[in-house]
């Protein structure tokens, strides 16, 4: 299980990295490597050139810009998990992060790497989807932005072109007092997700939803947002009926075939976890208001 040979490049700046991407054929960028390197060890991936971003400090960092939390693509998952700013402003991401891989892979794995890899069962894209992430993708020719919902183009395939790379993730922050929850079912304890759900909610003074977001991972190649029910429930009382309605909407979604996760089971889990996540998020919002 040894990787095939490749040429190794270690740019020191983003500009250098983008130039390499523009100039080299069959190149891939190496972020944390916690998904790419296993695939290379198994010879399921074998790029000719590997452009290692780990020596590019400007690609990492977490900052607040207005109502957005901006995360550099090379920010370690563990750094995001532990950052005070994330806990304070974006607790959903912190909660989701605890479910990602193992501590030893989170120490190395990056936020941007996980999103760009777009594993259908990865947690970070699901949280990012609920947080209306805006992605910045750059090439030597310039930068462009698009919402995370437009990223996936198939199983483990994205619209990021061969000469481009993801550089920034901007998460839309929710107001103080919002509730959040991340729910997940794995096949075994701390392991790979079958279905996961991220939920965010704010309540008005009457206890009705004033805003909510629900994203589901594991059903299809990319996270699914429950936009319809999100809109329907605005103004509805945040009670069991509402949670159940959200669950029912989630349970009606299509689910792909996957080993060990038959579609019927995944749809069922989507319903159960959506109901639980929304209930927990609403509960937190209610407690914050009290």
């Amino acid at each position: 299980m040894k990787a095939a040979p490749f040429a190794y490049h270690a740019p020191a700046t983003k500009a250098e990295a983008l130039d390499m991407l523009a100039g080299l054929d069959d190149a891939r960028v190496l972020a944390g490597g916690q998904s790419l390197l296993p695939m290379m060890n198994l010879r399921l991936a074998g790029p000719t050139h590997l452009i290692d971003l780990n020596g590019v400090p400007e690609l990492a960092g977490i900052s607040r810009a207005g109502d957005a939390l901006v995360i550099g693509t090379m920010t370690r998952q563990r750094a995001a998990e532990r950052a005070a700013l994330v806990h304070e402003a974006c607790p959903l991401l912190a909660e989701a992060m605890e479910h990602v891989g193992f501590q030893q892979t989170r120490n190395r794995g990056t936020v941007g790497g996980s999103i760009a890899h777009m594993d259908p069962t990865a947690e970070i894209p699901v949280a990012a989807s609920a947080l209306d992430a805006m992605l910045t993708v750059e090439s030597a020719a310039g930068a462009r932005q698009f919402p995370i919902g437009e990223l996936a183009e198939g199983y483990l395939m994205t619209q990021i072109a061969p000469d481009e790379m993801l550089t920034r993730v901007a998460l839309r922050l929710w107001p103080k007092g919002h509730g959040h929850a991340f729910e997940e079912v794995t096949r075994r304890g701390e392991s790979f997700c079958v279905v996961c759900v991220a939920a965010l909610a704010t309540l008005d003074a009457s206890g009705a939803f004033s805003r909510l977001a629900i994203a589901i991972g594991g059903l299809a190649e990319a996270p699914v947002r429950l936009s319809g029910i999100e809109a329907d429930l605005v103004g509805a009382r945040a009670d069991q009926d509402a949670f159940r309605a959200a669950g029912a909407a989630a349970g009606a979604l299509a689910a792909d075939e996957a080993p060990f996760a038959p579609p019927a089971y995944k749809r069922h889990l989507a319903g159960v976890l959506t109901e639980r996540a929304l209930a927990r998020a609403a509960g937190r919002a209610r407690r914050a208001a009290a």
Binding site: R78, Q104, T105
Partner: protein, 165 residues
């Protein structure tokens, strides 16, 4: 064969150099170039945890880290855990006292994980569930984990060392 790259790094406090193919992962480099064979390889795809080492103090899978990526950085392996005089680290000592190892193959990775946990807790208390969670990324087929959990709890919840007085 691809080109070879010269790298210099610190391993267990000692400057080391070597020449590697870029595709060599840190585990192969430690084991076969530096002959530090205490770090073991169990799956080579990042799940079993036997190859866990500390990179600048943080636990990482050495099978999912390229040797070239350790350039200029500090690596700690199981060989660097005991004190220079040979005294075992309290976690090593406890693993033996609580029968937290049998074949010993996963043990080096377990030790590295627990050292990081000890540092993260920074003297705060540990409960069994959190120790078990911390060890979720270290597969062991021999012990059923109980001995290593007990070992960890005994060290993490021990009274502060006399040195603090």
């Amino acid at each position: 064969m691809s080109e070879r790259v010269r790298i210099a790094l610190t391993v267990n406090g000692t400057p080391r150099e070597g020449e590697v193919e870029p595709r060599a992962h840190l585990c192969d480099f430690l084991r076969h170039s530096l002959h530090l064979t205490g770090t073991h390889m169990g799956c080579e795809h990042g799940v079993c945890g036997a190859c866990t080492v500390l990179l600048d103090g943080e636990s990482v899978r050495s099978c999912l880290t390229l040797a070239v990526q350790a350039r200029g950085r500090a690596v700690t392996t199981i060989e660097g855990v005991a004190l220079p005089d040979g005294t075992l680290h309290p976690i090593q000592e406890a693993l033996s006292a609580h029968h937290g190892l049998q074949c010993g193959y996963c043990t080096p990775g377990v030790v590295m994980t627990l050292i990081e946990l000890q540092r993260d807790l920074d003297g705060g208390p540990a409960d069994e569930a959190s120790v078990r969670r911390a060890l979720a990324g270290n597969l062991c087929r021999c012990t059923g984990y109980q001995g290593m959990v007990d070992a960890a709890l005994s060290v993490l919840n021990a009274a502060p060392r006399a040195a603090a007085q």
